[in-house]
Assembly symmetry: C2
Homo-oligomer: 362 residues x 2
């Protein structure tokens, strides 16, 4: 079946581009002797997780316990939840999952660690923990070396937890205006993390892993000695946010197929994909909502919930019923709106993958 | 069960506020002798549709055929798809649905109408159509009176279609800077629609309904003679976009319950609801991502996919594990991310409703 025959909106993934993206990141990390633990929140799809593991990933990263459960169920044996898990209901599920697979989870305070330790002790399991460090995003994570060392000492007194690493998410790099700024920010971050790790090791903690995240940071972090593990997510698909940060346009593997439903004489073209099929993310100066693959002269000027508003300068050849593919601004939030993705090679639909961790935010 | 006991993120709807919102819009339209045909794309939930119909709504509006199927299956007998339905697969489903319920659908071109007519003829059903008029949003819809009249004449020649009304969506009102601007825009729109309808009637077309949309426009459109039907959607919940356009804060019925997972000494509070539980909509000058119901001094300064970033000036009493409710910026895109909503009266969870039309964008 050709993808043109699919009803729309439909999420398409280009298999060749997906495979190239997987290969490139696997190579970058392998050549620099780094571990790759891809963030599965981007694709939420067991088939892609299996491809990542087959390409050499040491395990998966997820943001949510519900995602970890889906991937464990699908056979992944080593999962890091790079987030704080809080609340009795979740902790019961977490310790159950810790029996099924090698599970690590983030901690940045005793308020998070104590109930986790208690739940693990009651269940008679050991849970790996990694200490989250805030290196500039100002999200979760300890802010100072003193805070990190105090927390490590406190963690050491808690039963059934095993501290084996430190991690950060350098999401503040998305704000950098140039590769030079990005490189300098990475250099500072690396220094901070190395200093912290050295202090922890000197005090007797067995910190075997320093883990960093982020796709746009990867080409800068991969070469740095002492950064052991990369948790890139969006590299599998890339998107317009990544292109704005240096990814090649030809690496965008994900598109939303959409049908033209209205064409006006002034070149306004309305398609059947809006923010409920593409997400509302507009992280750009130009404020456009996506890019039309077939005709980049069409500007995606606005989106309602169920309509995309395209504008063609000086008329268009598009007609009602024509189908075009939109490259989304942000692959992660776009994928989360769909139940399945169609795997395309050239024009042929080769597979349909269920996005099994979609909406698993509990 | 108290809502505090729910695992998070969880979508809550306050039953009292929901009922008050339903009652108020029903009263506004009833007193002015107008028909209310609520847009169900906001709630996507059969239980709320039933409440709207019980309160006097003449039927439902939807944006998508998949939504229409869900509500017809749930027993709704009169549905208007206020959108252009394009493509053979959808048209086959549409004519099947037209056997189950009174179905009307938008048209703004012959390219949309001809295949619809052919599908209806093949299936031996009659389908109601309404002519979409662009009154300033520049989305779908005919732009001029001449275009409208020409299309009406062409529609009259197509078998199995029954033109009974004209409709517009005055979404451009969201851009108005004041109620005065909004009132003037509505006055102009009303004049345009009245003039068009008169012309159509004079040429022999049985136009029995002029239908308009939009919650923030309702208090201006409801009194206007000649506007027969209102298709408001978001009034059931309201949200921060509506509050910015004059809705009372106390009318916001929808919140996302979220748990504090990290607190930093500078007053940074991280919660477990980000753009995948709230949506990414930021239609505000202040660029905040939502409002904390329990403490409006906390600013929702940023959201990652799975984290909300709140900032408290001068410290906070919130601790890890505390739960707060976030009023979303945009209820429609927020609801679309959830599988179910918890119906709350005071602190008590009284019901759980499945959001059955969630993601039905085909």
């Amino acid at each position: 079946m050709k993808y043109h025959a699919l009803d729309t909106p439909a999420l398409l993934v280009d298999r060749d581009r997906l495979e190239a993206n997987l290969h490139n990141m696997a190579e970058l990390t392998r050549c620099h002797g780094k571990m790759l633990r891809p963030h599965a929140k981007t694709h939420k799809t067991p088939e892609i997780a299996q491809m990542q593991l087959a390409a050499g990933a040491v395990g998966l990263t997820v943001a949510k316990l519900g995602e970890a459960e889906v991937f464990a169920e699908a056979g992944c044996t080593d999962i890091f939840i790079a987030n704080q898990i809080v609340g009795e209901q979740k902790l019961e599920r977490l310790v159950r999952l810790a029996r099924q697979c090698t599970l690590r989870v983030g901690v940045d305070s005793l308020e998070v660690a104590v109930p986790l330790s208690e739940a693990a002790r009651r269940a008679g399991v050991r849970v790996g923990v990694r200490l989250e460090v805030d290196t500039g995003l100002h999200r979760a994570g300890v802010r100072t070396k003193e805070e990190a060392i105090a927390l490590a000492h406190a963690l050491a007194k808690l039963p059934n937890l095993e501290l084996d690493g430190i991690f950060t998410y350098e999401g503040h790099l998305y704000q950098a205006n140039s590769d030079q700024e990005r490189a300098i920010a990475i250099a500072r971050m690396s220094e901070t993390l190395a200093d912290l790790r050295e202090s922890l090791v000197r005090q007797g903690f067995a910190i075997s892993v320093t883990s960093v995240g982020s796709t746009p940071g990867a080409r800068f972090t991969a070469p740095v000695p002492g950064l052991d593990e990369l948790r890139c997510g969006v590299y599998v698909f890339n998107d317009r946010m990544q292109v704005a940060r240096g990814a090649p346009k030809e690496s965008c593997a994900l598109t939303v197929l959409t049908t033209v439903i209205s064409v006006r004489p002034d070149g306004r073209v309305i398609v059947d994909a809006g923010t409920k099929a593409l997400a509302s993310d507009k992280p750009f100066a130009d404020q456009t909502m996506g890019e039309v693959l077939e005709d980049t002269s069409l500007r995606f000027v606005a989106a309602s919930e169920e309509h995309g508003h395209l504008q063609a300068e000086g008329g268009t050849r598009l007609r009602v019923g024509d189908k075009v593919r939109i490259v989304p601004n942000h692959a992660c939030t776009c994928v989360n709106l769909h139940e399945r993705m169609y795997v395309v090679k050239g024009e042929e639909v080769e597979d349909v993958w269920e996005i099994r961790a979609r909406g698993k935010f509990l």
